[in-house]
Subunit: 366 residues, 4 copies
């Protein structure tokens, strides 16, 4: 039976519905029935042709949850948990990392490995159903999988999507200390996740600056102790509020999840001397920022850390905590719209217009 | 017998020679006969009034070496090495750190403690001989001291001066790995020290960009494997040379010791993905720099670290290595001029004009 | 008005009630009315003369909470929070650390500084009310203080006592990762605290081995997901349970809070390859343990970390979290008995007999 | 042309000479002419059947240097350096690590990956020339290779053998600080390498305890500042010498490279409070050691770290430094005997009898 897929045929071209052949399963592979995939900000950038090296036509959707239809000799997920048809799984979109080159070995930066391939981004639609905007997804041998732990549903995971894991990775990268005061800049999916995991990591106070009001409410639900509207609270007042919270010192840790260069100078300003600033929201080039090396970094003895991409460990660890603290991490509430494959273009437009925080593509019933 | 001191009476005022009363020694104090003090870049900034909170008139000179004249109940240096009159000692210019406030305790950043006082910078000349541009220096109780280990002389230490310790601290802050390729930006005292300690820390290749030719020769003597002239080698060629050295990847670690905002974008550009960039040369505000958060930090997964001030441990550790690798660290060669107290103003002018790499004030015979 | 104090006059001597003179307040000092102090395991060891260098007679009680009676020029606690008579404060029992010696500076181990003094342990009763088993406590200038944050009471803090901070420090020392499985050995005050802070730090599963049943119930209340009775569940079954929980691998992190050498081999056995084992319960010499360097450390690529004493930062951070997660950290429930100064000897006997988990000395009404 | 190989047919069976078929080269593979392989302590253990899971008959020899005979589509080594027939290369004996399991991903411990295979240890001689005691070695696709950097020869590398990399890894694992005092226990290949890299890493003083005299002389040549004979200097004197060197404190870092349980208690004793102790010499179970958890770990606030196996990065980094500091690392001098394939049994016996520090198997001319 052919597989229906929503295909991005080229920059700023209409999304087309294609019929793909069913893949021939290799040993070690898995075929999933797609339950939910996501539309993330990167998909909007790809749509506008802002990412280099994308082999259009592609099937977007890098983070997805599917139901196991069939496996070829695979009896457990990558962590050793038994896997059977019918089980819900998610998978790590990055694979074919070489584990032999300078970046993989000496630098410890597999995310910069030139061999890596990414579901939903670096595969042509001619290569098969290798993206989540399709009725079925073919997991090649070696793709790392995770059975969803109880009581998680597809919505719990895809409501966060790659933002869930990116926010987690930003918190891990910060090495925040128990009892710290943390500022999260941005209240999109990455920011909401960063808020939640900052709180679960032991921050005593989590402050966020974002917009609009609906997202600030979500921020509170995810664990923000203080929320400030970017548009309603002027920068001076934001500064005053942070000083009041910290005996004048600034925050211990700031997490940039805004993707706006204007956030950078404010982040430096609100950071205390000796604090840590993680830049995790700039997944595309949206322009430059001006810093003062003396004031912002040298005299401040600052630690500034970029966080590019994820490791599989982030997926594993994040889902373990999501399962444990299910009630405190209502990612399903972040879902603003549920779209069929036919509506993928509309979903993309809604995400770009910020009409929804998270749009999900749901080719099959939950 | 009164103490002759060279006093900076105010911003851009002529240096005056004063006669100070001999201090009354408190229990736990030490009186030194000054053998050598330094004129460092910070002194030039203080002369121009660019440092906030300086209580003019002051006796400059924060890093100095002296001969013990007299002690009050002090029988060993801070590390437990016996101390007697006639011994050469250096001391840590920062003291009265409170060890109780937020910065001292929770943040682990005693260099941001509001109580700290600094010899040669935060004391008025009316407070006594609390700076190195004087015939004698009074070490208050609690000032941390180090007897110079064999075979070090005052020139070995003051030839590096505070740059010696700052360069050391920059290397330590970088966590450079054995076998790494390191770029040092700048070949002043901080840069030369960073070159030397990068090599002693286990870098496989140390590259430097600096000027003028005489300093590049010193850089080679201190362990640089490759030197590039800032003025003669255009930026494109510098980039090409770094790419050739690193299979196209960029350096593992970059150490900014230049104090020029223009160095910042070049440092980011020459850094490999996942590399570490220490900003250690911006001890004064000399302007802003433009960065691209996506390209320079986020996608690069960069680690950017400011380094403000020193710990006493840096002094101890640096002198241990200086004594061991005495021949490989010819800091005495960095001394471009030796000035009496009467010539302090001239020394300051020569340092500002870059006529000498390191000027020393030598009130007493070696 | 004289100060009543319970004094330990010598090893295995009856506790006496003394009357002490009211101290003369120096600038920077604070006088507290003691609300609650603790009887901890160390006090039992001191009572039996097992700690070297104790200057009997002493007033025990190193962690205490008091109400500010009077201050001399002190307007804020050490973190900058305003302080006034009537406020409840706790303080860091260690002080007079020199911040200049090898251990304080180069080694970064102020807890090994030879100059440090400790309230309730290293002061003679002749020195004044410098321990918590007294109606009032004199805080010398420089003692670090913390105003209890809302809504904490003395019971919330002293119900944990020094175990609260020691457990916190053990968790911090472990660098446990979000989503980890953690084993806590021991369910006394240190173990309960380690359980609670492991959960608040982001552990996905916290397992504990301890006794008796009442403490295992407390362990569950503090966040343990799985509890095993040391006496009822034989070692083989404990091993099986841990293997079942971890796909056969063992725990990511083990925290020894048992103070029994028999716990050490079991901790190594239950630790996964590459895991981290913190030894935090051996505050006194209770005998040796046998390990296999090949199996337990080298082949396991283990990380084994001792944790001696506390930093003030642990107190600050722990109280911040205690205030935030007040309901999840019911330390007040750990209090098994409340004793007046007259009953201090009885309190000591009850702690030694394990008749109570935590005994508090309450010289004044709450 | 058939390949001659020395085969260990079973525990304590005579080494046999076999003739193997020339392998059929797969895409991505390399065929080497063996220049030198090693006999290491592990080979002795394998000979006695002390390693679990060895599929006798095997061709021993895990670390080797060969000359490239032929490649299938391989134009560069794993770091991107061009590779051509005639070049000398070494390779990382471990491969087929899965990079997907819990140990590879979440735990960051690929050395505990159940899928890993090791040249010279986990392959049957029936699988082909997959060990260094053979005229030629077949490098399967994906085996990580390093072209020897100028001016290194096979002897420079195999004179250290796996001890060279293990010693390097032990130093890296210790995080030793610049200016530290380091104790290396053991003066076999691992110990000598640890001495050399401790010095190159920036230790100020390197002390070693070992035997016999010839090895202590090598230790000095490799950078030991102080050597003590295990048999001639009694433990009390060793303790006194260490105390004298460290103002009574003990060493900052101890590296166990002795493989003898008796070294463990001495290592703990000689370590300063807050020091780091790396256990890197216990590659086989040679018995238990007794420690005191209170004195050795808890009160000492010790950091004890096992180091199991290597990463490829250690090989790359070590060779970079070996090439740079060629004269200071005379590993070729460690070679005590050079044996043909026919003499492999004799080589094994000499290593076991400690008649040579390092025996090399040289099937082909240098």
């Amino acid at each position: 039976m052919p597989i229906k897929a929503a295909v991005m045929t080229g920059p700023e071209q209409a999304i087309e519905l294609w019929q793909l052949d069913d893949p021939k399963l290799e040993p070690g592979s898995i075929l999933l029935e797609t339950v939910a995939s996501e539309v993330c900000g990167t998909d909007v950038h790809i749509y506008h042709g802002r990412l280099a090296g994308v082999p259009y036509p592609i099937i977007p959707g890098h983070i997805s949850v599917g139901r196991v239809l069939e496996t070829r000799g695979v009896e457990a997920d990558s962590m050793g948990t038994p896997l059977a048809p019918g089980d819900l799984v998610t998978f790590y979109d990055v694979h074919e990392t070489c584990h032999a080159c300078y970046f993989c070995t000496v630098a410890g930066q597999p995310n910069r490995c030139p061999s890596r391939r990414v579901y939903g981004i670096t595969y042509s639609a001619h290569d098969g159903p290798l993206g989540g905007w399709a009725e079925r997804i073919y997991l090649k041998p070696g793709v790392q999988t995770l059975k969803l732990p109880e009581p998680l549903t597809a919505d719990d995971v895809i409501g966060g999507g790659c933002g869930l894991f990116t926010g987690f990775a930003a918190v891990e990268r910060s090495d925040l200390g128990m009892g710290d005061t943390v500022l999260v800049q941005g209240t999109g999916p990455v920011g909401l996740s960063a808020i939640a995991f900052s709180a679960l990591r032991g921050a005593a106070t989590v402050v966020t600056i974002g917009d609009p009001a609906a997202r600030l409410e979500l921020a509170s639900a995810f664990g923000a102790d203080v929320t400030m509207s970017l548009s309603d609270v002027p920068p001076d007042e934001r500064d005053t509020m942070i000083r009041d919270l910290t005996n004048g010192r600034g925050v211990d840790v700031a997490l940039e999840c805004a993707g706006n260069p204007a956030a950078i100078p404010e982040g430096f300003k609100l950071l205390r001397d000796g604090g840590t600033y993680v830049i995790a929201g700039h997944y595309t080039d949206v322009g430059e920022a001006t810093i003062n090396p003396h004031i912002d970094i040298n005299r401040k003895h600052a630690d500034v850390r970029g966080r590019w991409g994820l490791d599989f460990s982030h997926c594993y660890r994040a889902l373990r905590l999501l399962a444990k603290h299910h009630d405190m991490l209502p990612f399903a509430r972040v879902i603003g719209g549920r779209y069929s494959l036919d509506e993928a273009g509309e979903a993309l437009a809604d995400v770009e217009a910020l009409a929804v925080t998270k749009a999900i593509i749901a080719p099959s019933p939950r």
